[in-house]
Symmetry: C2
Subunit: 433 residues, 2 copies
């Protein structure tokens, strides 16, 4: 049963509990396992990768089986329906169109005395994309990972995803990868995949940035290798927070909550509403829709543990609670959603109005679905083209320009106790005199 | 003595050794200490902060002494020279002018069928700036941290820096903070400062993002709290790589190498040159300048362990070696530096020509001096306004627009086994029929 509480109750503590749902005591124990996997792969390369693939994924591979072959890639197209292929292609086009907007560009500025300043953007040399596998398959996550990397101009993009029974990779995943321009795919998942990408093995190349969501082992491995390589973020289980008014359709709101909960037994689904009738109707609709939900057990778990309806006094109060939670997905199922937007400070993605279910953003509206979770929207953003770009500052001074700032540099260098800093300027301008 | 090797020697291994200079065996031991500090501050707040300040910084403070007072802030202005104040103000203006360029702005795009897509940029609510202290004082680092935060519009910016003997904070640091608009300053450093900012204490507020360079304890603490808060990067000791041709002035090149080495006994200073005479002359000049260098012992250590001159066959070969090293600072002391820029893929900041010593960028050219180190320029960039901003994706669909993509969403949701995703769209468009 989806609980209903009022704002008088200790709402903030409840939201905090839900936000912190992955910070469990077991993490330290899992971290020890992950450290062991990282060390083994660093030292033994493919051998360790294959060992852990057998242990954790129950698939016994030879080194030459790690990479998905050209014939598998070709065959995948035969195995997906025409409808699915077209859907993947539509998603590709829309994701690409969105991500091509406002890509940072290199610039220089010419100042007085021949001073040139600027920023030069370049892509990482190699990117590693993690695509979760296991029970489900996520062709949409392939697109969300790969398209920004391609737009950034990353010369070598490699993908890793765990093998399923029979060593196979889901055909929709292989088709999505090819549609997004990724041909180099390795069947390896978990911490061993992150280790292989961070350190390189005989078969799998070392990359410069590792992106994409994964389970707790993948996330811990990404945190530990951060610094050796770049990472996009630390992903936790998915979450939605819906702000709804009396005009929202309770069946739609209930379905959106379940669309979040069905991802993961750890998913969170929260409704903040000003309307008591809506709260009760959503509660009933969730129960009803759960009855014959194909993923009932896991979905029910998420709803029971991390589902919540809060009755709030105003939409502004709802926005303030939402800001404290900083949700990955925020739906504004209210009459004038744009009026509330200025009150929203932290959210991964905002879905406006009664006709924008999160599903449309999850698959094909264009914006990225790899978003900050567990409160990370307070400081982080969606995966994007920028994730695969970095810039070099550009600085060029003339002797005249240097002369003009020499005194100031001297004062600062002296204050910081750096004599050669002063000398490096003084010696250059004295030459002129 | 600064060693000279040729490209025939195992240059790549040598550069790798220098790049990896902080990945020492002691890190794991230090990490245990840092974990203990984090846990203690999380549980005991100010009490633990004061305990570790006494233990590590030898300063016994009361809780009410943690925050720098208004009268201390005022008094600082009396203690800096007019020249230094003017230098700080010049640096402020130039850093602000550079950082105000090309700041990301919110946008929306109106598509067909009333689809609205966009990105909404917002600052973090609270930022914590770390400014190293200890033996030296870094007013320039205050500016490089604080100015981007202010431009981003961060409502609450707090600064932490370790107390020196007599509990005092360097007056130039306090003046720089005020010139950059930061008034809330706490005298705490090390891992205990990072813990206080990540978890909050009775006195020090919990922040959303922690930025700024620090020693190995600060860096380890930042890595461990990443995920609870955002961080800018993991800083290692500073480094310069200079590419110079036969026209470069050996005394200038030597001074620039020492200007790097004088920062830290772990700093790295590398010269790649096509000219044997220059190599030898730089070697001699470095020796000569070291003789009466006020920081001779530490600077000599850096030069001996992490200094290197490599004779290369061409400037392009130098660029390729530089790309492998991905230096924090890259100086192109060559006749046509702009011709080599397209060959440079990874560098934190590029200083072009014979008249652009790194010192000018370090203090006041405008670009940030908080830069990726230890090879991180392969995937990371300078601290910037973006470090304090994040965006929310904006998605609004109409029923008509939803209707058009319903089939595609159905295909993708089915492939991913997410029935409520399909329902969330179907139920909305059926209502219209």
């Amino acid at each position: 049963m989806l609980r209903i509480i009022t704002q008088q109750a200790d709402v903030k503590a409840e939201l905090q509990r839900i936000c912190d749902r992955t910070h469990d005591e077991q993490v330290l124990h899992k971290e020890a396992t992950v450290r062991e996997v990282l060390q083994a792969v660093k030292r033994q390369g493919d051998k360790a990768v294959l060992h852990y693939t057998a242990e954790f994924d129950n698939q016994t591979l030879k080194p030459e089986e790690l990479r998905v072959t050209g014939s598998e890639l070709d065959a995948a197209y035969q195995q997906v329906s025409k409808d699915l292929l077209q859907a993947i292609q539509l998603a590709c086009r829309q994701i690409e169109a969105f991500h091509r907007q406002r890509v940072p560009k290199s610039w220089v500025h010419f100042g007085d005395d021949d001073v040139v300043l600027g920023k030069r953007y370049t892509p990482v040399d190699r990117a590693g994309l993690y695509v979760p596998g296991g029970r489900a398959a996520y062709p949409s996550t392939v697109l969300m990972n790969a398209i920004p990397a391609k737009i950034a101009g990353v010369p070598r993009v490699v993908m890793v995803t765990p093998p399923r029974a029979g060593k196979a990779i889901n055909s929709a995943v292989l088709v999505a990868a090819q549609e997004a321009g990724v041909q180099e795919i390795y069947r390896v998942g978990g911490a061993q995949a992150i280790a292989a990408l961070a350190y390189g093995t005989e078969t799998i190349p070392k990359v410069d940035a590792i992106v994409g969501p994964g389970n707790i082992y993948v996330t811990l491995a990404k945190k530990l290798v951060y610094g050796t390589v770049g990472i996009d973020s630390l992903a936790g289980p998915s979450e939605v927070l819906i702000i709804a008014d009396e005009n929202a359709n309770p069946v739609h709101v209930a379905t959106d909550l379940l669309a979040q909960a069905e991802h993961d037994p750890m998913a969170a689904a929260i409704l903040l509403t000003t309307d008591t009738a809506l709260a009760k109707n959503v509660q009933v609709a969730v129960e009803r829709q759960l009855v014959d939900h194909p993923r009932r057990i896991d979905t029910e778990k998420a709803i029971a543990h991390y589902g919540l309806i809060v009755l709030v006094e105003s939409l502004e109060a709802a926005a303030e609670l939402s800001n404290e939670f900083a949700p990955e997905h925020l739906e504004l199922e209210i009459k004038d959603p744009w009026a509330l937007v200025p009150h929203i400070r932290h959210a991964g993605a905002i879905f406006l109005g009664y006709s924008t279910p999160q599903a449309v953003g999850n698959f094909l509206a264009g914006p990225n679905h790899i978003l900050p979770t567990s409160g990370a929207a307070r400081y982080a953003s969606a995966l994007g083209v920028e994730t695969f770009l970095k810039h070099s500052s550009i600085i060029q001074y003339s002797q005249t320009a240097l002369q003009k700032v020499a005194g100031a540099i001297d004062a600062l260098a002296t204050a910081e106790g750096l004599p050669s800093h002063t000398d490096s300027v003084r010696r250059r301008i004295q030459q002129e005199e």
